[in-house]
Symmetry: C2
Subunit: 412 residues, 2 copies
Amino acid sequence: MKTDNLRIDLDRLLGRLDDLATVGAIDGGGVCRLALSDEDKAGRDKVRGWMTDLGLAVTVDGIGNVVGLRPGQEDGPPVMIGSHIDTVATGGRYDGNLGVLAGLEVVAVLNDAGMTTRRPIAVAFFTNEEGARFHPDMMGSGVHQGDLSLETALAADGIDGATVGAELARIGYAGDAPVGAVTPHCFLELHVEQGPVLEEEGITIGAVTGVQGISWTEYRFTGVSNHAGTTPMGMRNDAGYVAAAVAMEARSIARDMGGNQVATVGTIELGPGLVNVIANEARVTVDLRNTDDKALMAAEERMAAFVTGTAGAEGVGMESRSLARFAPVDFDPAMIDLVAGTATALGHSVKRMPSGAGHDAQMFAPNCPTAMVFVPSKDGISHNVAEYTAPEDLRAGADVLLQAALSKAGEA
Amino acid sequence: MKTDNLRIDLDRLLGRLDDLATVGAIDGGGVCRLALSDEDKAGRDKVRGWMTDLGLAVTVDGIGNVVGLRPGQEDGPPVMIGSHIDTVATGGRYDGNLGVLAGLEVVAVLNDAGMTTRRPIAVAFFTNEEGARFHPDMMGSGVHQGDLSLETALAADGIDGATVGAELARIGYAGDAPVGAVTPHCFLELHVEQGPVLEEEGITIGAVTGVQGISWTEYRFTGVSNHAGTTPMGMRNDAGYVAAAVAMEARSIARDMGGNQVATVGTIELGPGLVNVIANEARVTVDLRNTDDKALMAAEERMAAFVTGTAGAEGVGMESRSLARFAPVDFDPAMIDLVAGTATALGHSVKRMPSGAGHDAQMFAPNCPTAMVFVPSKDGISHNVAEYTAPEDLRAGADVLLQAALSKAGEA
């Protein structure tokens, strides 16, 4: 069975992307489909309908993950293609959706060709990848792969007070398929890069080598609120100063460590927040990422020591708590080679690169051969209505996904 | 006429302080009497009533300043004692009120002694010293001394959309006395220090040498909102980083310049304000103060150059605007000597010191001999319900005010 010449239908893929983007559409071309909301239900119904139309056998598991299975010539673990269709509140139309709809496109191409692969192919979308409404993110894939217990996930509270379990039942996606029952032969995810590297370097395909480890820490500082004019500099306990110093140190850590170490302070809040009052309260968050867990730990330790020293010197109280911690994930070398080689064979430029963002694929990586395909994001923008990937790049990424999946589905 | 042995009645002064603090009382022992609010009206009515009870001839001018006049043996410009009774939203019971009620205590002592001073004595409270509801602060004293036009002041919008003119009319304090009609012989103001210096050094009386110049600048930075994980450090335009750098530079400026240069960043606001999103918006305010206007200008210039350079290097857009600018004010040397000498003669420790905060007195300083008396603030706290000055310090300050005023009122 020769499949090398099979290609996705760009118009059909764009049509489904456009159609799904009408569900929860917001101004500017973006989408708001927070996990387990009415909009998410409507999006789920639409994609599940497409799965059924394509002849897939659809199951919904206890955390609301939806899996459509296309049988192979042989039984056994399927080649799984998956991502998510939930979005952040001001999301774009590509993030997550592309990976799921490109998976459907793989199925459609095979249907059109009348071909049955040796191994089954599964297309899946996982609940609450974004974590925008419920904590933690990558919830559905985490439960699917045993990283998170179903009970914990169902009990998670949302930012609006709702719980995952109640919302799943409300929208009719508390399914009866057991979680973790399907351990795939391998896992593939196509996703927009959500960063500027591919566009900046003029490269079409990213062969993702793994996912950066992520460390989020919140610091709260307690100083003394005093008059900006009457309090000598040497008698200050300025919580805002310490918060600002943390932001500067984050930049210094990234600069000094180099490599792919990144450090971001996206939140600084001062209280009382007045021009002429020394801040007695400050809250600051630090986001540290590295592909090397030892390096990430070194960054964490340097920041912790800096904070302790700086708060102490300023006479400011300090509390810290970890908001999130994911160890770096390495994808399977053979799978990375497959993605890179497939891209090259199809005539596309390719770069091996880590992912700076978390993805469902990382939950599969410890348990089965896993890799991801990145396509460029215009201006590196994501989680924003301005998110955009050019149609030709979508085509290239979906074709790499198709050929990589067919290669794996033909394996003995 | 011998007046050296006259002393204020502490219980009477404390009684009026306690009584006035019931108007607009808030939890923790503080007061909320925002300028021209219903609470301010109630406070005004109470103090005006006390003025009348003490036999003062009360006038209200076009900006709502209330002046009570005690005639002297001779006509002519009075020795004026004044301050304010409006408060910030979470104000204490001493700030402003002390200076006004100690002025009434001076009158009461003279009434009890049956004495008439050579010059008249006036006790005044001025509208909207705090600037917490209407901009600018020191409004009433500014209009009184011609620093601000009555028309501009009446048109000022409040944080709640009300205007000064309408609110004055509403509460019945749009008076008919002409503004600026009374140019005093001299001006004296007793006030809590609102800073920690006197307490820290164990000194009872501050002989205030002048008021620090104040420079408030707001900076707004516009960067690019991008993913904290996927955006390499070298491709960032991080508005939050620049804001944090401004806060650090403020500290450096104060440290490098020394003397009484102070620098405060009390406000840092980032947008969108998420852990994992590089800030595309930041707002930061800088409060610089110095008693030397040339030094203050040097501090302003250094900050402006730093901001321009840092925003430029980060590729972040920058806008700045001045929120306030008062040149330093020097009080009259002979008046400062009078305050210091009176304190010493009364057996109190005294320190000559600048005021880090703005006060009504500074509006009088260019036009008549002016000085201020400071008493310690516990823990340097002010603009806070925890504001506190010990009764014995109140007594000391009020006695210095009394004796200094009597000295001036006896002058030919």
